[in-house]
């Protein structure tokens, strides 16, 4: 590669990083200015000490974990089965999983409220547990595209059909094949889908607000509208969380490369 190409590469990369990090630096700098004239962590201390922050944040973490569990249970067997036995259905399934990306969340919520309101056949919105469950379902739908894509990409790196046949000829049944052959080989992909789900659930606003659940997204919004410095500190915290998730994805991806020949 010529020096010229290498240079162009670095400039593009720096530009891209700048695109994201300059706003962030501005944010961070401002968030440290809560005490007049000097830099301080006052805004951060105030937020972390806020019981509402603690409550909403832990609520959202629990919801994220539930969503991830739902997602894995639905997506892994489906994606496996579609790849193995119904390749003709792949475009349809892919189409289905793309829907949540383009249907505004608000449509999903209106639909749910209408279906499960207190006077319906299954009055989920009538109880707290029911509403929580509904929220988790909503989140699962929102996260579906990412989870499915991740798992499907993971499945693409292995030869599902031949590995399955090899395991069958060695005497393995379906349960053994799924747990001992397929799952271990797509684990990195599943984890990367899980981290993405986590980041999305933590930041989500519309669903939680419309179902009136005490999640982190609406809290972020509320603080943003009413306080001077705290929203910026919160943004930095939110960014740090997503950053950590992305870092974990990268780590997992790198780890998975040790387990495979270049594909």
């Amino acid at each position: 590669m010529s020096l010229y190409a290498r240079l162009t590469g670095w400039i593009v990369l720096l530009f891209g990083l700048g695109y994201f990090f300059i706003p962030l630096l501005g944010l961070t700098e401002f968030s440290l200015k809560a005490r007049r004239g000097v830099y301080s962590l006052d805004a951060y201390a105030k937020i972390i000490g806020d019981t509402e922050f603690q409550a909403t944040f832990s609520y959202s973490v629990v919801m994220a974990l539930v969503t991830i569990a739902f997602g894995i249970l639905i997506v892994v067997p489906t994606a496996f089965w579609v790849r193995l036995k119904m390749p003709w259905a792949r475009p349809y399934v892919e189409f289905l999983t793309l829907l949540p990306l383009v249907i505004p969340a608000i449509v999903i919520v209106f639909g749910y409220i209408r279906l499960y309101n207190t006077s319906s056949w299954l009055p989920l919105t009538g109880t707290v547990t029911g509403t929580n469950l509904l929220l988790a379902f909503g989140y699962t739908v929102l996260a579906l595209p990412y989870m499915y894509r991740a798992v499907d990409t993971g499945l693409r790196t292995i030869d599902v059909a031949t590995l399955t046949e090899a395991a069958q000829s060695l005497g393995a049944g379906w349960a053994t094949i799924l747990t001992r052959v397929i799952l271990p080989n797509v684990l990195p992909a599943v984890l990367s889908g899980a981290f993405l789900t986590f980041a999305i659930v933590i930041g989500e606003f519309t669903l939680a607000a419309l179902l009136d659940r005490p999640a982190f997204g609406p809290y972020l919004q509320r603080i943003g509208a009413n306080k001077p410095y705290e929203p910026f500190a919160l943004s930095v915290i939110a960014f740090a969380i997503t950053w950590a998730c992305m870092g974990l994805i990268q780590l997992v991806t790198r780890f998975s490369k040790h387990m495979k020949a270049e594909s």
Binding site: T162, S169, G173, A261
Partner: protein, 334 residues
Amino acid sequence: MPYLEIARLEKSFGANRVVTDFNLGVEQGEFISLLGPSGCGKTTVLRMVAGFERPSSGAIRIGSEDVVGKRPNQRNIGMVFQAYALFPNLTVAENVGFGLKIKGARRDEITARVAEMLALIGLPDLGARYPFQLSGGQQQRVALARALAPKPRVLLLDEPLSALDAKVRVSLRNEIRAIQRDLGITTIFVTHDQEEALSISDRIVVMNAGIADQVGTPFEIYNRPTTRFVANFVGQLNLFKADDAGRIGGVAVGQGDFAARPEAVHLGREAESDIVLPATVEEVHFLGSVIRVTAAAAGARIALDTFNRPDMPPPAVGSAVELSLSSRDLIPLK
């Protein structure tokens, strides 16, 4: 009675019939090749024996038990795939031991059998490696060991050498044959490469459009092909047409078309040859040990093979030569 018996096997995908009235008996310990061009149904036959496809009709018996109704994981058949298909998350030793673990064998039994298998394939020290750390040839040997470890009744090889380099392909095919002889395991080998099939089989089934055209030893298949397809697909062929009086080069051979292998035609006159044809050299291909010369004679293009001789360079293109062959080496074509 043969150990593995396939009787009146048929398979259609929708309106497309890919295997028609396939019959084959394989003796215990025999090495059978299914040879044919792509799409001839050879892989489908193998997959029906393995249980991955369900026959439209017909029977498959192993040791006189009909296995058609059984699932693949109940048949106790070893299979080696073109794409190796090693489990990427398991070490070589875990791969080889997979079948035994599924069967619920004790850990020390598994360890012993895995060591035995790795020694058999000549990779005793690679048990702790992962598949991606091995070369293609090594991976395919491990796949063979994995298929053999649970002592299957039949070993199926689905083009196991196609993904490998030419040199590795030759050495591994000899190794597979040696191991198969050692263990005396009944084996079916699918390939589209005629040299591969000729070199390692006890018997060959030449398939064409879903039908078994000819079954026989490599020597029979090559020297006494019974159909035009077999004559053409296995080995190179020169076509000779007898004249109206039933002669070629003045020698009476009978009416019709005849084939002669390139090694049956000689450059210059040979003592045993009764047919002599004047010819012009058109192409000379130096292939290493063999030199293939293409010459125009009697209105046809005749290919002949001659061994390289360091003291005699190949004939020049355009030079006039004599070709000779024995009328006994002519194969009548139906």
